[in-house]
Every structure is written in C-alpha cells, then in structure tokens.
Amino acid sequence: MKCKVSLFVPCFVDQLLPEVAVDTVKVLRRIGCAVEFPEDQTCCGQPALNTGYWGDARPCAEHLVRVFKNADFVVCPSGSCVSVIRLFYPELLAHSSLREDAAALASRTFEFSEFLVKVVAVTQVGAIFPHSVTYHASCHGLRELKLRDEPLQLLRQVDGLKLIEMVRSEECCGFGGTFAVKFADISAAMGTSKAESVAATGAEFVTATDPSCLMHLQGILGKRGAPTRTIYLASILAQDGLAQKSSAQERP
C-alpha cells in the first residue's frame, strides 16, 4: 500500500456530482492508496468565507480541522476547496484554539492532481480514454495552488487521449460560487466566452481541476446545444477500458 488517504469531498460534489468523488476514489485505489472517508465531514466553509461571513465560516472550518485531525494525507477533488484550507484557514483561524491543527492540516491537504504527481510521483495511472480533450485551467488551482503542469502531465499519459490546447485557457469560466447567482448576467457572459474558446478547439470533452467550473460550463454548453461535454480530471483517469457507465456528465 502506497499511502493512506483521507478523502475530503466538497459539499456540492457530495450532493450534486458524486461521480467526481467516486472516480477519485477509484484512481487513488488503483495506484495503491488506501482511501477512507470520514463521514462527519461537511464543508470547508468556502461559501461563507467568500460571502464575507467569516464568523459563520470559522466554526465550519474548525469542524473540518477536527474531522481530519489524524489524517496522513487529505486529498480533495477541488482546487478551490484546497486553496481555502491551505491559503485562507491561517487567516480565518488566526485566533482560534485550533490554529496549529489548522496549520498542520494545511500542510497535509492536496488537490487530486498535485497529490498524484507531486506526492505519490505518479503520472501513468493506466487510463484509457480515446477522445479529444481540452483543458481549462481552473483559477484557484492555477493561481493559488500554483498548479501548472500537473493535470497536463496526467492527461498526456492517458492512452488514446488527444490533448488540444484552447486559447485563453487561463481566463476565468465565470462560476465564482455565489457570484454565479448574484451576478448571473456577468457569470453567464464569462461562461459563454469560455464555451466559445472550448468550441473553437473542436474537442469532444473539456476537463479541469475544479468540478464547480465544469458544472457551470456544462450548464452553459447544454443551453447552447453544444456537443462538447465536461468531464472531471479523475473521471478521465478512472477510465480503464473496462465496460462501465460513463461518468461524464450526462446532458438532461
């Protein structure tokens, strides 16, 4: 066994995109990690943090710190949640009795692709996905976690996968959490621009390190009747050529 991983599943993945986490578990186990899921986990606190309600975010963060206190490695299929834990918990919990535990947690928490490439040092996970794919560089992973190459290193090792670069891959897709609802017009306009960049590649699929980006983009693409489908990074890597239900998001 390579290592023991405690899985942190973002609240919206747990409730709306469970396949993202199912595929994450699948890949982690395939590369030899034992995976556990502490069931008392709820949310990293990002919605309250981002809306300015730090007083409400704080106890939520403390709860998470307690849940993962004894974890060796915490792996999360979401760059934004990991950046909350690594970059914002120190400030949020600066006066909390759990601030040292929070600092310890931050040093052991990883986004899925950085865990594979930088911690386990694995890029070949035995995946087969004979399709064209374009990559959207989700903002929090890119700018806060400084992810650049890790997701691409993984994608390049996938058997049959044709990686197509999109223009302005680093431009925000427009999700932004509650921004998507509070400033719906702007969010949709940004999503449309991103959808156009995606469409220009002609790729069958678009992937990213943040399933929230993909959820937003799939909605935009679906509304336009565009053929491209979104698929989370782990869901690509989980494909091993065996007959299985596709975990790419179905269009309703």
Partner: protein, 472 residues
Amino acid sequence: MSQTAAQRFLQDAAVKSADLVHREIIRRGMESYDVAHLKGRARIKDWEAAREKCQEIKREAINHLDRYLLQFEEKVIARGGHVFWAANSEEACTYVKNVATRLGVRTVVKSKSMVTEEIQLSPVLEKAGIKVWETDLGEFIVQLREEPPYHIVTPAMHLNRGQIAKLFREKLDPAIDSDDPVYLMAAARRILRQAFFAAEMGISGANFLVADAGVIAISTNEGNGRLCTSIPRIHVVVTGIEKVIPRLEDLAVLWPVLATSGTGQGITTYGTLIGGPRRPGEVDGAEEFHVVLVDNGRSQLLADAEQREVLHCIRCGACLNICPVFRHVGGHTYGTTYPGPIGSVLTPHLNGIKEFKHLSYASSLCGACTSVCPVKIDLAHHLLQNRRNATEAGATSSSERLIFRAWRYAMLRPRMYALGGWSVRKALRIIYGLGLAGSILDPMRVWNRYRSPVPLPSESFRARWRKDLGAN
C-alpha cells in the same frame, strides 16, 4: 424612487453582458494590449524582481507617508511653489477655482488626471465661467461625448473610428470627412493647439511625487501634458497624497514598470519632472506653481494596516485589462471613477462600504488581478476582506445573514447537512418532474436562466460510500 448604485450596476451589467458588439470591441482592444504587454515584459530581464522592487519602494513611501510628503512640500515651497492640503473634493475644487478666479483665468487646458475626475473639478470650474479643455485625446473624446472615461489609461477604447469621426464632425468641424486615426489626431491637434496657446492655466495630475528632489513626475505620450505645463502662466497639479515616492532614482524602475504594465512600452515618451515655477533666467514655464494634495478618504485607508497596501497603486490599468469581469461589462458599468479590480477594492473605502460593497462582490475571485499587479497588491484578497468588512459593518441584508446562520447550523451537524442535501435534491426532482424548472417555484431559477439544469444524482456520494465503496 432613485436607484441605488448596486441596482444601477446590476442593470448596466445585464445590458453590457448581453452586448456582443461591445464585447468584441473590448476583446480586440485587450488583445492588442496583451501582445504589447508581453513584448514589454520581455524587455525586463527579471519581471518578478522588478515587481518586488516596486512593491518595496511603494511600501516604504506609504509606511512613512507623512515624512516624505513633508519633505516634498518643503522643497516645492523653497522654490516658490504653493502646496495645498485638501481634506476632500470640495476643498480641492474650491482652492483651484479660487486660484483661477483670482488670476482672471478664462481658459484651462487639462492633461489627464483621474484625481480630477474623482473630485469632479471640471464642472466646478465651468460653473465659474471657465472653459476647460481636456487635451489628452481619449479624454478630449469622452469630454465631447459628455461621458466619463471608460478606462483609466485609454479613456475612449470603447469607441471605433467611425464613432469618433462622427463626433468630431458634429461637435468640432462639419468639414471632417475621414475616419482615419492620423487625420482625426491632426484635427484634434489643430483645435487643441489654439487652446494650449490661449489658456492662462494648465492643470495636470502627477504619476509620482518625488520626495528627495521635491518634484512631480508625469508620464505621457502625446505631448499634451508637456504643453499644459510649459505654456500657460499658471500650472496647477492635482494629485492624491499616495503618489509619493522616496527618491528620484526610484523612477529608474518605476518608469519602465509603469510603461510596461500600462501600454507595453519600454518607457512612456515623456517623463517630465517639474519642481516649481520658472526660475529667473529660464526661457519659459509657469510663473505660478500649485500642488493640491488630495486626501478624500486616503488617510483613512492609510490607517488600516491590513489594507493600506491598496494605496501602492500606480494606476497602470493592468488589472482592468486582465479582469474577465471588466472585459465583459466594460468601464462605464462600474459607475465609479475607478473601475476594474482596483476600483472595486478602493471605492468602498473612498465612497462608503454600504453603497459600494457590491463592487467587491461583483467578482469571481479568479485572482488574475493579483497576478499582474506590478506593485504586488493582492487585489483579490482585498476584495475578500472588503466583503468581510461589509458583513461586519452590518451592510449586508438581514435575510442573507440569516441564511448563513442557518447554513452554519447545518454544516456543524453532519446528519442534518446530509438530510438537508437529500431534501433539496428531492424537492428539485419533484419540481423538475412537474416541468417547473425555471419557474417561480424553482429555487435554482437564476442558475437555470442561463444554464441547462444540473442533472440530479439519485444518491449523494456519502450514501454511495456507505453502500458499496467503504472497502479498500
């Protein structure tokens, strides 16, 4: 009942977000900037070292602002210049108006100054019967259109040449018959040249106030700033107090960085340094030199140790250019003097958090602004802190506060959270099953206005885990 700034913003954002013509104009303009900017960056051997150096300079200046401002003032006064400390817009405008009326000024030529926009100086002078000519081409254009500048560096980037030609034809000279930019610039030059030579007063801004040399530094390309500060017999500088830098030599890195971030140039064409009125024996130059130091809320921000670095801004515009929100709604939508990320951070501090907090919320927090700021202001982080300040000041709605109170209650109770999630999914399935997606009964209706509905899974991950994923 009049609209709040937030309501106006949402309305304008909705219109602009759907305006594909506008979006294409901005996209083309920003694309041209992106190319130039990359070329400019390539000229600097170590861009990160340049940013750090600029951050260091501004940090030193802002952390000792009083000392450096006093040093600057002393030198200017020793040379026969005047320095006026204006607490707010009103004091600043009154001072300038009084100087003008005392000296019988009938015509003013202005070079670009965002601070004069901030304090709304032109209307005050015009009301006193003084004709004010904006001489920067972009500012001249928006002045003719009677609208505010669209961008802090390129005020007229939202217009195409056809629109500008039509504007000139209607407002300046019916003989204007071409939309060629060279021709239009020549027309503007002809007209404004008369103003330069007729004006009794020139008003400029300042990019930097150099403390050890006691001079203002202005970076321009067109030469209008040069003419405003060479020909008229009175020169008035209107500047924010935060523009100060410690040493003349600091310009060796600030000038190239400002030019690179602002336009992609290696250096702006004219880096002008002026320390006072003309000296005896000099050929020309203003006989009177006034520097108006504008506070207008800056000292309050200065006192805030957490957010004082926002005053490091050198107004290069790079954050506006990269911001995806700006690229989709444009500069006018913000409805403030300073648009874009810096505006969204600064305006709640200068103009009130209650009325302008929405600007700090109108961001996906993508962090692109932070990544390009040449003085390394962590703009995205400040947006987040502004949001925190807004809730702590009680400026957010009570219903939202209640929602997050309830959210927090649920998030501390895993079973309640799981049950809550299940209930919401169940309710949505019923609503969608009845074909009511997007209707008033659909809690996701705002989401569903622009997106096809999120497919609802039959069970949550934790339910799957419990069922069949537990074993390794």
